[in-house]
Symmetry: C2
Subunit: 302 residues, 2 copies
Amino acid sequence: VRVACLPDVHAQRLVGDVPGVETIVWNGSEQRPPRLECTEFLVGSYTTGPLDAGSFALMPQLTVLQLISAGVDSWLPALPAGITVCNGRGVHGQSTAEIAVTLLLSQVRSIPRFVRQQAAGMWVPGARDGIAEKNVLMVGAGDIGTRVSATLQTMGATVTLMGRTARDGVVGLDELPALLPTQDAVVLAVPLTEQTRGMVDSGFLAAMKDRAVLVNVGRGPTVVTEALYPDLRSGRLTVALDVVDPEPLPSEHPLWRTPNVLLTPHVGGGTEGWDRRGYQLVREQLERWATGQPLENVVISA
Amino acid sequence: VRVACLPDVHAQRLVGDVPGVETIVWNGSEQRPPRLECTEFLVGSYTTGPLDAGSFALMPQLTVLQLISAGVDSWLPALPAGITVCNGRGVHGQSTAEIAVTLLLSQVRSIPRFVRQQAAGMWVPGARDGIAEKNVLMVGAGDIGTRVSATLQTMGATVTLMGRTARDGVVGLDELPALLPTQDAVVLAVPLTEQTRGMVDSGFLAAMKDRAVLVNVGRGPTVVTEALYPDLRSGRLTVALDVVDPEPLPSEHPLWRTPNVLLTPHVGGGTEGWDRRGYQLVREQLERWATGQPLENVVISA
């Protein structure tokens, strides 16, 4: 019997019994469960964040880290070498695609302005923009990007799906310079990697069309926060960010009160049912692992 | 040559020449064009509202009133008998469906709360709701309702489309009492008629599920404004209204500052391109009229 470590008893209950696997529960706390040192398969907590190097040192047999988020970046700094990392592709995809669409539509249809005018009792019609017949560049062609694209196309937008490399129905990142000037909206749902960190800088923003909308639901550091100020203050661009750099955004940070920005506090994932979907995925992965089948959602191969 | 009256020269330019039809321009002003009294086909202004009975009296030959809005109710009180009324079905459908989806998603994903917290520099994560896997009742199975339904289904919601009478894929209004208690959201896009005026009253609201969201993008008087207060103040229901009764909402009206309501000032239609789409429809109608073919979009038959 091989040992898999889950973050809490709720997870253990949702995963249930998996033949050939003993599940233990630990989340980095002082109180260590028996057989922790035998852990070969670790499921990271979605809610309490990454373990530190000292915690990983207590699991010398570890070969697989399974996460329940699409992004894995925050777990990597403390991770020992030689461990396969699987992500939670699909668990939060629908929810994150939904916040992307919500943020884009909110900015296009001026919802933040109407919320402020409502507080002042002001009836001021006149908003001419819509998403129909607009060009939207969806950067990130994974689960989230594919869902956003499908929804916006239903609403009459023309969506270009962009991935790391070109494939059927997906243009490659190398087409960014050619495409940016023609897009009414750019939605970012890419993982944080060396390639994407700081990708949206002054040059990227300068290439965007006047009055375009930028939405980020991936990882904050994909966008250079300071680079946003000139275009937001002049009103040339509008942005909506569910993820920012830094996070959480300190209350004195100037971005909070910059015009033409809509901020939500990283609430893309985690909507009702994420735990059910997440631990169903974990169960399937443990079954594969216990029976020697290849794992799915591998993002880093040991 | 028969005379058709358009509301302005921009409309006249977009409609262009139609064989067998002379177009004149008038919008109820003191300055009356030659041949006004010969007008048989009148196109109502989308932006300046209905003509009064005195204006209609100047067009004794009138047989057709073509509007560029989906709703025709505001033109009816002053309209002489015996005139066929056609609406602008399709012109604003995409735009109005878009505001319905925007309002619903904004409330479900707490955008108004985040806008207020942004102003205070407050990063407060934790919003568990989403539209995926929810039940949505779309009341109104016309152009707008069909579009809203398609979009929400793409986002993973289960949508029931409700029309005046049951037909394939559409349940009838008589199923309202049975359906209301099971719906997480109810979206209204129905014309204002004797049947729909005051339809959403205390009884309707009481039948709605706890924590449900009500959205109205049709006509304000479909909802009894005063009936909303108890459930909004208790937080049992949440609403988002692009149309209200009265309109414009006076700045001292209590609805502005009632909790759990998101208000937009009747901005569902009129997004970019409405005039191009609207006067293309008018052109096609004039061509049908001039060649003796039946008109489309007839909502009141003479």
